[in-house]
């Protein structure tokens, strides 16, 4: 019986390793293509590993578009919008969760519905609103729009975290004379660090990876990297080498973060789904 189990286990391990490698295949392919000379990327027939290692795609990337500027735009916009969404969302979610009012149930339902809105349907009205505010092609526009769009997600995540915190803490603080805000800021929030970290990472990724909103709201100043990347789909030359280099550059930090912050990501995804 034990032998059977051992073989089964070894088989399982082997399979999972093979599966992982296979699954990462597309990504590895892109990385390989980034380091191939431009002509090899679109060579017929295609090869997997580069015959020659070359960095010309990266230089091509920097030449064709202001890659560094776009990367910085993506970074700063994501960070700030996430900070805003986090603070305001956590605050709002706290109020909803702790209040027993019937109103709060309605608000929860509202937040849930807001989470479900497809971005492609609302971008154009958002575009018009931003233009009317005179904020077209500014980073500020992206920041406030991302903060708004991602807030329901933050609220949803924090709501389930707050549920795990006993109200006795709030009551104790209240007795000590703290106001609601002080209770929130000094007592509850520090305990919620895991929840906040999770929400932070996810919201950051949502803003970093966004394409459509940035496409419509930016032109030259505030263009983000995703929009720049999409610009490689051109009819004049098959610039796929630099595109792969760009894709690699763009997803690499994300991969690193995901490996390092695995715990928080798992927490975030399972929040609200698994009890306890």
């Amino acid at each position: 019986m034990l032998r059977n189990g051992e073989i089964g286990k070894k088989l399982g391990i082997g399979l999972s390793v093979i599966l992982t490698v296979l699954w990462l295949f597309p990504y590895i392919y892109v990385v390989c293509c980034s380091f191939k000379p431009g002509s090899e990327v679109i060579a017929v027939p295609p090869r997997f590993f580069p015959k020659v290692l070359s960095l010309e795609n990266f230089s091509g990337l920097l030449e064709r578009m202001d890659a560094l500027k776009f990367l910085l735009n993506s970074l700063s916009v994501s960070l700030i919008s996430t900070a805003i969404a986090l603070i305001l969302g956590a605050l709002a979610a706290y109020a909803i969760q702790r209040s027993g009012a019937k109103l709060s149930v309605a608000l929860v339902v509202l937040v849930l519905c807001l989470k479900m809105i497809p971005t492609s349907s609302i971008v154009v009205p958002i575009y018009e609103l931003i233009c009317n505010l005179g904020l077209y092609d500014t980073k500020i526009a992206l920041i406030i729009v991302y903060a708004a769009i991602n807030m329901p997600f933050v609220m949803w995540t924090m709501l389930s975290f707050y549920e795990g915190i006993p109200t006795t803490l709030d009551e104790a603080a209240f007795i000590d004379g703290a106001s609601s805000f002080q209770t929130f800021w000094k007592v509850i929030l520090p305990i919620c660090k895991p929840g906040l970290s999770t929400a932070f990472i996810f919201t950051l990724l949502l803003a970093w990876n966004d394409f459509l909103v940035a496409l419509l709201l930016t032109s030259t100043n505030a263009k983000t990297f995703t929009v720049g990347l999409a610009g490689f789909l051109s009819a004049y030359n098959l610039d796929l080498g630099p595109m792969c280099a760009g894709a690699f550059l763009f997803s690499f930090p994300v991969m690193i973060i995901s490996l390092a912050a695995q715990k928080y990501i798992v927490q975030g995804m399972t929040a609200g789904a698994v009890k306890g």
Binding site: V77, C131, Y136, K193, L216, S219, T220, S234, Y264
Partner: protein, 410 residues
């Protein structure tokens, strides 16, 4: 560990705020003022327009003191951007490079330049750029398809001039892993191909006839579509016509996998660069039952009505028109002025300009219809070509498309 993560994140957020904050306030000042020291132009990313705009920006600034901000967007995003901008009555771009097929939709938002000197415009360019009597922009370049072929495999007297010659030669040249020619079956390039052949088969007016009725069920179109289907199904073209457009065909040609292609003229210099001048030749478009014909693909540089800097924008488009000849120094070598082409044609390596002039001059060469709903109509036509190449009945497909286009309207 958790505390550290949180503090790292907060610090990062703060740094990010400071970085943007400093940059942001400055940005806002310049964009909100709509100052007279810069104009923004929209170009297609990867196109010669982008390259030339980048090259000439410095000299324009030296001449006028006005900075040129270049916004390069992929073709498919340009139309969307322009239309959203215009709808919202925004002045994001002062000058925009436009494909001729968009002029009808945006006519109301473009500032007319009726005082321009059109004497040097290449044939058909003035007509294509005029709507309701208003000239909407300076032509940047005009492009048609020409025959690009392997000079080392095809002698001058073998160069095909008719459909039959073309098919026969393609069959002959299919040896080993090389095919005779390609068929464009994907996207808007396929539609242009289809319309090229329709011109050659005798179409009077593309998609709409002189009276404004949809004419795609006419014999010319049926013949054109059948021609494409026959070629696509034959041995002398690669099997994946449905995925072939201009760039794919060019790649095949440059890799020595096809002997001929009917491709946009700007692919000729690029092919010469890869394969060498002794291997690549070019000739005017082939002719069908009605002779040589092709549809033109001009681009215009237009001043937008919403621009806050129209004076400077007008200066810019004139400046670029002056520099039209510079396009011949770039890789793609196409331009919009007759004088430029005539000059260039005298040089070796620019044979495509003569081929283009010959094709443009042909009686059956026509422009695509200038209608507001072109993007929708074009999608229907893409469907026509793709379905037919996929095996659908040609006549039925054209009938269905005709009804659809009629319901779309103009």
């Amino acid at each position: 560990m958790k505390k550290r993560m949180l503090s790292i994140m907060l610090t990062a957020a703060m740094m990010g705020t400071m970085a943007t904050g400093c940059g942001g306030s400055q940005e806002n000042k310049t964009t909100n003022q709509g100052n007279h020291n810069s104009i923004t132009i929209l170009v297609e990313s990867g196109s010669p327009a982008e390259a030339l705009a980048n090259q000439t920006a410095a000299s324009f600034e030296a001449e006028t003191g006005c900075k040129v901000i270049i916004d390069a967007v992929a073709y498919t995003g340009m139309y969307d951007k322009l239309s959203t901008e215009i709808k919202a009555k925004q002045a994001a771009h002062d000058v925009a490079c436009m494909d001729v097929v968009w002029l009808a939709a945006f006519a109301d938002a473009i500032e007319a330049i009726n005082d321009a000197d059109t004497s040097d415009f290449l044939p058909t360019l003035q007509d294509s750029g005029t709507i309701d009597g208003n000239l909407l922009g300076y032509p940047i370049w005009v492009n048609t398809k020409v025959l690009i072929y392997r000079k080392d495999l095809i002698s001058e007297d073998q160069v095909p001039k008719t459909w039959e010659e073309y098919q026969a030669l393609a069959k002959e040249l299919t040896i080993a892993d090389m095919r005779g020619t390609t068929v464009f079956g994907s996207g808007t390039d396929a539609v242009c191909s289809f319309l090229d052949f329709a011109c050659q088969a005798g179409a009077e007016g593309l998609v709409f006839d002189q009276a404004g009725n949809v004419n795609i069920t006419d014999q010319a179109y049926v013949d054109a579509l059948n021609f494409m289907v026959t070629n696509a199904n034959a041995d002398y073209t690669p099997a994946d016509s449905l995925a072939t457009a201009s760039t794919e065909s060019q790649e095949l040609f440059r890799n020595g996998k096809v002997a001929m292609q009917l491709n946009w003229s700007h692919q000729y210099p690029a092919a010469v660069e890869t394969l060498g001048a002794d291997k690549v030749g070019c000739a005017p478009m082939i002719g069908g039952s009605a002779g040589i014909g092709a549809t033109t693909g001009p681009w215009y540089e237009c001043v937008m009505k919403n621009s806050k800097n129209k004076e400077m924008a007008k200066k810019y488009v004139e400046f670029m028109y002056e520099h039209n000849g510079d396009y011949m120094d770039l890789t793609l070598k196409i331009a919009g002025r007759t004088s430029v082409y005539e000059e260039a044609g005298k040089e070796a390596g620019n044979e495509h300009t003569t081929a283009v002039l010959a094709t443009l001059g042909a009686k059956q060469s026509q422009a695509r219809p200038m209608v507001v709903k072109w993007p929708q109509i074009e999608e229907v036509l893409v469907g026509v070509v793709e379905s037919s190449l996929g095996g659908a009945d040609v006549n039925k497909t054209l009938e269905a498309a005709k009804t659809e286009i009629e319901s779309i309207g103009k």
